[in-house]
Point group: C2
Chain length 257, copies 2
């Protein structure tokens, strides 16, 4: 694993913020890994070629294996001289088709894509049909049983606001992390056979969105009374919520600073 | 290559018509091939498992490598007893996620998905943006230069009707094939950054849609006077038309009988 001395990196002159969009199907998540392909590996390699110095970046959201991003934000320090307006097209030449740099800007030294983030919007899509759609399959959870919108909307309504979301936090979370988060929006709309879930909040625990969707879909399928959501929240225990929804329906839509 | 004696196959009791949808990105086209993976290989193998006899099928359209289908139609003869209503879900269990059987019916013995087809609808999508979109890239031609809708619509208008389309036929076509085809519709609409081309006609020559799109996009980019289309048609020579558009923008949308 590459590791650049933090102090050496901080001596570099420019702090660049880059917006990135990717189809996560082929990757073992965003975060750099040793023995499998992560989005970060590919991005850092391409940026290193374009900037001329060894790039190590920080990202707003560490999306899991198979999860997508429309508006991932990263930042990195460099002495490279490329004008930031030219950076996206330059780096896209070294990126595979499923990862695209969409825009860039130069930011103040103390900006961190990870730590400066104020809130994030995640979108999760469920496709309700007995027959899956080969054109959607990479980007939706194909659900072959019946769903109703109203109980899902009702279940979601209990999640809006400031809560302890321990019941929706997967094992593997960082120990001792504060499980209290605020959701400004947790809603669902339907268009055709597609249910679109929106989660807008100040932060998300490990697997939180997918665990919420798995639980809410259970309500939509009639196997869970949506009015039990406050009780599930109050238990602060993962065992009381539903199964985790699969990764491919989830997209990190936008990060707000 | 498998080859079932035609006469033996015709003795089978049932003629089944199956509707199939696929993302063609991973395949070397529809038609069965020896040393690479075609949609037909995969479909026949899955159908053979479900039906219990060696399936050989005929398809309405032999889509090229990388071309998709939303409404491909195939038919095959079988003695298998599975009710046709159960067939799609049964065969989908043996199909990869990018090929899906959407419905099936039992048809008369003389029905042929290929020869009974009266007309076909092809859709071609172009995404006009300097930055490609990783979520669309499998299904559009990413075009980074400027396009105008009006000259493309004008160029297309000359193609509607009965014409000799030799200028839009790639080498590699079957020799001596009649190059006269009728297009009932050849049009283009725009929504956001996406241009959607519709081609509805009684038949299509080898690469005809992609050669037309390549030529029309040249008009949209200001490098071809759209009023030259009648002249290009009249030349009956492939060298006078534009370059062929890439496969991933093309989808066989529907076949009419």
């Amino acid at each position: 694993m590459r590791s650049i001395h933090k102090a050496a990196m901080k001596k570099r002159r420019r702090n660049i913020c880059l917006f990135v969009s990717y189809d996560g199907t082929a990757y073992h998540g965003f975060q750099r890994q040793n023995n499998c392909l992560a989005v970060q590996n590919v991005l850092e390699e391409a940026l290193t070629k374009v900037c001329g110095d060894n790039i190590e970046l920080a990202a707003a959201g560490r999306t899991d294996a198979g999860v997508h991003a429309k508006g991932q934000v990263v930042n990195f320090f460099t002495d490279g001289k490329i004008p930031f307006l030219n950076l996206p097209r330059a780096v896209n030449r070294f990126l595979p088709h499923d990862i695209v740099a969409t825009s860039a800007c130069e930011v103040e030294r103390d900006f961190s894509a990870l730590h400066s983030a104020k809130s994030k919007l995640y979108i999760y899509k469920v496709y309700e049909n007995k027959i899956p759609d080969p054109f959607l399959r990479r980007f939706v959870w194909s659900y072959e049983y019946d769903l109703s919108l109203a109980p899902m909307q009702r279940a979601l309504s209990y999640l809006v606001g400031k809560h302890d979301f321990s019941s929706f936090k997967s094992a593997g979370s960082v120990e001792g992390i504060n499980p209290v988060r605020t959701l400004y929006d947790a809603s669902c709309t339907k268009e055709g056979d597609i249910y679109t879930f929106r989660f807008f909040g100040d932060g998300f625990l490990y697997h939180m969105v997918r665990n919420i969707v798995g639980t809410v879909v259970k309500a939509g399928n009639g196997r869970l009374n949506p009015d039990l959501m406050p009780e599930i929240l109050a238990k602060r225990d993962r065992n009381f919520a539903g199964k985790m929804a699969p990764p491919q329906g989830l997209t990190l839509w936008r990060v707000y600073y």
